[in-house]
Symmetry: C2
Subunit: 394 residues, 2 copies
Amino acid sequence: MTPSNAPFSRAEYDRRLSKTRAAMAAAGLDALFVTDPSNQAWLTGYDGWSFYVHQGVIVTPEGEPIWWGRYMDMLGGRRTCWMDQSNILGYGDHYVQSTVVHPMQDLAQHLLARGFGNRRIGVEMENYYYSAKAHAVLSAELPDAELIDASALVNWQRLIKSDEELGFIRKAARISDQVMRTALERAEPGLRKNDLVADIMHAGITGVGDDWGDYPAIVPLTPSGLDATAAHLTWDGAPMRDDEATFFELSGCYRRYHAPLCRTVFLGRPSDDMRRAEEAQLEGIAVGLEAARAGNRTCDIANAFMGVLGKYGIERSGRMGYPIGLSYPPDWGERTASIRSEDETVLEPGMVFHFMPALWMDTWGLETTETILIRDEGTAEPLCEFDRKLFVKA
Amino acid sequence: MTPSNAPFSRAEYDRRLSKTRAAMAAAGLDALFVTDPSNQAWLTGYDGWSFYVHQGVIVTPEGEPIWWGRYMDMLGGRRTCWMDQSNILGYGDHYVQSTVVHPMQDLAQHLLARGFGNRRIGVEMENYYYSAKAHAVLSAELPDAELIDASALVNWQRLIKSDEELGFIRKAARISDQVMRTALERAEPGLRKNDLVADIMHAGITGVGDDWGDYPAIVPLTPSGLDATAAHLTWDGAPMRDDEATFFELSGCYRRYHAPLCRTVFLGRPSDDMRRAEEAQLEGIAVGLEAARAGNRTCDIANAFMGVLGKYGIERSGRMGYPIGLSYPPDWGERTASIRSEDETVLEPGMVFHFMPALWMDTWGLETTETILIRDEGTAEPLCEFDRKLFVKA
């Protein structure tokens, strides 16, 4: 039985579990311990801001997954996970941020009790929520087990979205449209940046109609002028000024699903350089979308875009996109494939990427991006419905 | 020279660096690699939402600290750190979320070039942003170095706040007051919870006067009814209902400094049980504040509170507070001392704690808390100025 709070059907969770188990079998794993909060939610429905303490999901070849976390968060597990309450486990509060004991000692006991003490157990070595210390303690507690790096094993299963998931991402895209509209309408010289961000957040959490807004995994990025030459500065209380570009890197969020969108506004008259960069960026995005077809590879999108930039004589390095979907802070990307020249992931229908060919130049930044869906046939579908251009408010 | 964007004086950063170096010397460390974003900001001023990729600060016994991160974030480093630009280092974008190469390979080269290849280097083993994989790669790349667990070494230096820092926390407290006032004024039956959260966030980011609001390290926690029996559930779009308690766990944030505050509102007439719990909680907080004096220990606060609960026959386990100050997601706590019976940290003037003796019961939750400053003499000072009671809206 799926409780009312779990966002997806039981069939959807079964599908996810089957895919994960197939990947575990291919990797020769007897069990998998999942710490990425987005992987936990994807497998079990668990949803709470409790990932700042150790918690995770145990997947074995049979039966329901097991959610394990802090004792006080068991109650959150019972209210958000689809599994039987007997599969929600809690550890005592004396383990929390202690210098004497570690929660992984408790986890090890559960794995031992289930007969995995001498088996091959996958762990997500490269994840924010599996610290070097956690690994050291778990290794010491399970001396006869083999801990195998299974980083992103679950993330890769999330790459192709189900129809249920696409429905959520489309709702997030409607919220993204509303958030971006708010940002562009409100931006004007003299407006304090934090007041603009307050309105942006308000629009995102309000949502659209019955589709209430959840918190995005990244806060609004809204830098102006020289601050926009850096990719990840957050706001301050300075007023917006004439003759500066401001980029908006924003996402609506519907039940943890994202649809990021970037646009740039110039207050005044943009320079010829910026106009030329806009032209190159828009032409590059158009050819990128042409290349974003099932059967092509992620690098084909990047190379198509870079070909246009080369024609315009604009230099750029670095990756220009990543898959998106379900996520928790600090990143809304899925951390698997990348849209970059050295990545050869084959595109398949149902994949969703944030195609993100931003330009950060010496004295300004220009971000124009799309969340795109790879379709059965033809070019990728941009999921937001927003004019693609440099916005100018004179 | 401190650039205009760094929030503190050069003397303040020098003080922090000296404290950190003394702790390094006591631990026998030749160098320290700091990954906790709050420690990075505390030492260097670095401020950006870029902690989702590997980055950190290298502290050695002499000279300026070195900020190291993704190439595109060097620009953010130059705009927010106080150090010379030669001490802002960047690694290539091909390292980002790659399955082939790892950023720690680049970091190792910098440590080798500076002569630390065979020295004792401290690393924050227990931190969200130092993954098990990062540690494995760094260990392999520096086979002759000794990597020592220096988890929370810097965090402990942050426990006693400077006057400059207390000024920031007091500003955050004014914002917390405004945010809580917004929540309590707006709460009413029929109001969708996400619409309430939108207003809460708006109030927090607007800030108070010239003190603009920054993003808190935790999103607003605002659960009602049975959801409030769990500690960390986030909102949804359901309307608030009569005869339910809703707790608000909120914080204003001023330039990354926090002052968390919790209050509870009941829409209707609370049960006698809840009224009795309120009485116990308020009496417990009062005796807790009495015990929160320089020279006493953290456990004295916890034991004072628990003594009152025992008198009322109310059961509670778990910790009831932690130091706060500068922080980034996913936690606004400093992860050092805890207010709990087994913690014997001696209280000193300038320490700031979120004293958080919430009660999560079988069918409702009651959160009433204070951010408190340990003073030279007398009892702790609550930094927010908010009535301490269960708010009732009939």
